[in-house]
């Protein structure tokens, strides 16, 4: 059955257009629960610079939650439910279908309207319209995919969220912002020195990161729309590992200004520095729990790097990871129930997840040099960096390990991904 699902998927991918060519998706064991969906070409979409239905299909596909059905051979695409031959689609075992239309407005913008139909019930589940410029084609496609995803799964979609990552290319480093699928990338910062540890502000307007442009690690915050940058921490020694509090007012950072690498809290404007840990070990990679009350972090206080948890005001820390001798880079899911981190197994570094209530540990990936995990804001997928053929690439894996894919970023060496938050429309 699993094999069949894979073959079906491959066949489907083969049928898919060139826009999908860069995508490699592997789905293991998730097939049985996939919702069969047909996305029909939107009437008039040939007026657009690219197919919006291709974008919607690729988004749904990548989530691993849907089985996309061959949607060709329908003649003139229907734009109204009344034009749909429901019997035919039911015979194709389609549960849901998407139809729509694109119209050019007098001001040069486009209006995209679509309907999501429940095929067995022959009813409309959703109907929405968006006005967009041609340049907003991908974003609009992602928003439509989000609406479909939410209607069919009951969870918010993340296709219209953004990701940040760092590219190293011919001796230059660029912090780039792209759509969640890795497309549509724009440079936010270019530097001749490394940039690491980007962290999104909870409202998605700013990034904090570590830049080495002054030959040492300095924490900045950077407003994406204006390009305005502000030093958050530039103390003697190294300043690193910024992580925003859920209210966006302060950051947890690692400073070595008092000797050693220790955890501190600092206001986003760089004022009010408070030391959180006092010891001679390495404490690093702080992340807030979603309620803002606790901090997970990496420490070698027990002799090897492991993940610990402490109250946001400091005090005793509780060890969280016990399996293995090297567990770093903790990240908490938005519901606070799952921790993912990088775990060393022999000479491999792989993503692991820990169910915080059952204490169950699961290795999520089959790659060997995983780094920098980052949860999608809906908690379904984890974006991470890994190394394939000596080249840094971005990959994503579902929180249950069943859906895996690589992002098609066109760059020599990609690292340090960070998945941005939900942003309101």
């Amino acid at each position: 059955m699993k094999k069949f699902a894979r073959i079906a998927l491959l066949a489907l991918l083969a049928l898919a257009s060139a826009a999908h060519a860069q995508l490699s998706i592997e789905i293991t064991g998730g097939g049985a629960n996939q919702i069969p969906v047909a996305v029909l070409q939107f009437a008039g979409e040939d007026q657009l610079p690219a197919s919006i239905t291709d974008i919607i299909e690729a988004d749904l596909q990548r989530s691993g939650r849907f089985r996309l059905q061959y949607s060709g051979g329908v003649g003139v695409p229907p734009t109204e439910a009344s034009q749909v031959n429901f019997t035919e689609w039911r015979n194709r075992s389609t549960d849901a279908m998407v139809i729509g239309a694109v119209q050019r407005l007098q001001d040069g913008r486009f209006e995209v309207r679509f309907r999501l139909l429940d095929v067995p019930r022959q009813s409309q589940l959703l109907g929405l319209g968006f006005t967009m410029t041609a340049a907003q084609l991908r974003l609009t496609g992602h928003k439509i995919a989000d609406a479909i995803y939410e209607k069919l799964t009951g969870e918010r979609g993340v296709f219209s969220t953004r990701i940040a990552y760092v590219v190293r290319q011919s001796g230059r480093f660029e912090l780039r912002i792209a759509d969640a699928d890795g497309q549509n990338a724009q440079a936010a910062l270019a530097s001749r020195e490394p940039i690491i540890s980007p962290s999104w502000s909870p409202d998605g307007t700013r990034l904090a990161y570590v830049s080495f442009e002054n030959k040492k690690a300095v924490v900045y915050q950077h407003s994406l729309a204006t390009g305005q940058r502000q030093v958050v921490a530039n103390f003697r020694g190294s300043n690193s590992a910024p992580s925003w509090s859920p209210d966006g007012r302060q950051l947890a950072v690692v400073l070595s200004r008092d000797g050693g690498s220790q955890l501190y809290l600092i206001n986003a404007d760089g004022t009010n520095v408070r030391r959180l840990t006092q010891n001679r070990s390495i404490d690093t990679e702080p992340v807030f729990t979603p309620d803002g009350q606790s901090i997970y972090f990496t420490s070698d206080r027990g002799g090897s790097p492991q993940i610990y948890r402490m109250a946001v005001n400091g005090g005793d820390a509780q060890r969280i990871t016990f399996e293995g001798s090297y567990n770093v880079s903790p990240r908490v899911s938005a519901d606070g129930k799952t921790l993912v981190y990088v775990s060393r197994n022999g000479s491999n570094f792989q993503l692991a997840s820990l169910d915080l209530s059952s204490r169950q540990v699961q290795i999520l990936t089959d790659t060997q040099r995983d780094e920098s995990p980052s949860f999608a804001p809906n908690g379904r997928m984890i974006l991470y960096a890994t190394d394939i053929g000596g080249r840094g690439v971005l990959a994503a894996v579902s929180v249950d390990g069943r859906v895996r894919h690589r992002l098609s970023v066109q760059a020599a060496d990609v690292r340090e991904p960070a998945w941005g938050p939900f942003v309101g429309n």
């Binding site: 209006e111 006005t131 020694g237 770093v328």
Partner: protein, 190 residues
Amino acid sequence: MKKALVAVLAVTFLWACSSDPVKEESKADVEERSASKPGAAPDGSASTPVKPQSITPVTVGLKPEAAVPNILRDPKNILSKRSIFYDYDSDAIKDEYRPMMQAHAKYLADNPNARLLVQGNTDERGGREYNLALGQRRAEVVKRLLVLLGGREPQIESVSLGEEKPRCEANTEDCHGQNRRSDMLHSGEF
């Protein structure tokens, strides 16, 4: 805006619950997210304008390097040697580096205005931030030794580059050995 969205969600929820077969639909039941949108759609109703997500790119450059005294650059002078290499997972400074460190400490003692930046580095294996902290530990050991040997604490800053500035990029033990190091930079070099 939020209220409008809630209203919209409520409406879609009602649709979801309805199981009536489709009869005749008009464009009017395409849902509208914003009621007061300028620019009318062909059927007179409104649709949600997609908000732009603009990004202003920034480029940062390096400061030009200032003049460095010749004595620090003369390849025959021990002060031109700046690197300390480490064993795997170690921050111990081997004895072979002692004469070099004594020379740098003496230079600092003789030149009270001189400043030194110690940059700790690691090989590429493991997490970037954890490696940054390991590099910091190496640099701090170097600084402590330089102070013991006569440098003054305020003259020396220890920082880490972690795994970010490898000297050698192959995934071999020889390369990893070249990357596990501390470098000393004098005033004008940083």
